[in-house]
Symmetry: C2
Subunit: 371 residues, 2 copies
Amino acid sequence: MALKFAVSKECGRSRARLGRLETTHGVVETPVFMPVGTQATVKTMTPHELEELGVEIILGNTYHLYLRPGSEIVAEAGGLHQFMGWRRPILTDSGGFQVFSLAPLRTISEEGVEFRSHLDGSKHFFSPEKSMAIQMDLGADIIMAFDECPPYPADRDYVKRSKELTTRWAQRCKAAHTREDQALFGIVQGGVYKDLRRESALELMDLDFPGYGIGGLSVGEPKELMYEVLDDLVPELPKDKPRYLMGVGSPDCLVEGVLRGVDMFDCVWPTRLARHGMVITRRGNLPIRNLPYARDFAPIEEGCQCYTCQNFSRAYIRHLIKANEVLGIRLTTIHNLFFLTSLMRDIRAAIAADMLPEFAREFLAGFAGEK
Amino acid sequence: MALKFAVSKECGRSRARLGRLETTHGVVETPVFMPVGTQATVKTMTPHELEELGVEIILGNTYHLYLRPGSEIVAEAGGLHQFMGWRRPILTDSGGFQVFSLAPLRTISEEGVEFRSHLDGSKHFFSPEKSMAIQMDLGADIIMAFDECPPYPADRDYVKRSKELTTRWAQRCKAAHTREDQALFGIVQGGVYKDLRRESALELMDLDFPGYGIGGLSVGEPKELMYEVLDDLVPELPKDKPRYLMGVGSPDCLVEGVLRGVDMFDCVWPTRLARHGMVITRRGNLPIRNLPYARDFAPIEEGCQCYTCQNFSRAYIRHLIKANEVLGIRLTTIHNLFFLTSLMRDIRAAIAADMLPEFAREFLAGFAGEK
């Protein structure tokens, strides 16, 4: 059995729950935020620094690793864990989202997707079987079915056909996947159409996956609409399986997602924001590269226990970012990832203490949201 | 007394010696290599990582810090140590070398140098007094006199006039410098003309500096010529004062410099090389970004105890560098700085064990040199 998942406590006053995900490379406490390591590295961070932050699982990108360095090189190294020196669990996505969002000139057919590399324009073809073969090479603990991810907005007919294709591809993924040390998750699609979401969930549950991704959200729709879809969809999903809301990672969305019964999240947002000189605080995001911080010798956030806030001032970090110094984006990345891992730890503690609704209300009232 | 220097042992079979430099912020064992932190950061590294490598002193650049963030901001932060979170000794250069090598449209007069910023083209003026004022703001433990650094090749008349100007500027620096917790070093100039070097040394020694920089070498002349200048010059310098060969840092030059009686070195070379995907090994430099390393799962150097070699393969580092991932240049920088700090530790151990000439012979025979 590649994956065990057990819910240890339910909030009762919301759909939130505490869980424990046992994988081939160790245990993950849920709800969890997974930092993204697109190209076999969570940008700017060593694996040991991630461990120090308390990160228990990271994400890798099939599309990027297939193009560079090539999944056969990762396989030769002994898999992605070995290649990048990360001993804890890894989840890889299917490549679907990247093919649809990054690669130019893609052509979708029943068989799969032809696309050109965003690096050199070369032609490639991803099918459900190919995505499984690459992900088996990479050797993550949790892998994702190859899906079509429609844009927002998209009309109902398109989304319906896309959802049906995603179900057929999920069947083919299940048939092609043979590694017993990996858990394959299905991905629920259906855009913002609640009935299509429910159909998608039921079709995938027939295939009995050990976990379910919720794809195609946070792609441009208003947050309220995303929350409504979750309100409607999550009760349809099996209680004893992990639910993974893909591509969502701003602090308010994490809190709202947990309240709606989501167990896992990932997003490039906190690390990308950091590289643009934006830091997350409990009162919202701070554009640390701006002039007002040039003579501000306070830490990013008073009381924050992260390495950055314990050792460096806003003025110093601002200087580093303005001067294009790597240490600047290292320090903002550490702070942002610490913020999110701490937030998830606080959320889990609040569920354990039967205080999640109160915690959520207070946090959301203080947090000014994403700029 | 801002600085104490004591020679604890002489090699006897060469001019090498072991020393101990006591500064306001702690002790430095010599011979020492000082990594360069141009913009208040040794590129890619945290101060704590430098400490872990055993780095005892770093260099800061007056020219860069004056332009960005501005020395008044560093002073407001409490000085460079406080601003960048580095608790150990710092040496700042005078800005002279950068004005002559980086800034466009410079005009030299008896009074000083007018130049334009390489960042925004704005006009600035450095004089000996201005350099002292900036370096007093920055608050390093050791600061350098403002000198003119002639290019190579340069004709004898030019170098002679330049050397005389440097001496007059050194007098003005000494008069302008008032911080008692800082030691001001003079800088010997004179190009590759041995008699001018000796004159420069004697003129500066009249001013009785607590240490002497040797400037204007490693600026394009053959290495053998640099060694000859050192052979001739060093015996003229006081035995009880530290000698600092400026801008020199390739492994073979460090060994050759120590043999000739140099106590201190600095260079951007090991960190810059790292950012270009080149790593230093005992057999020479390795272009790790090249294709042959794509499937090479060995460490950079077998037996190396650095964090990089203990945890990551050449193939992984090559992938990171090719993919423009920050972690790639972090790992190569760690390795290169570890290499040089270890080399200096080995050199000091060899002097202590009366084995330096043997150590040097073996090291230089194996080291293929700079590409």
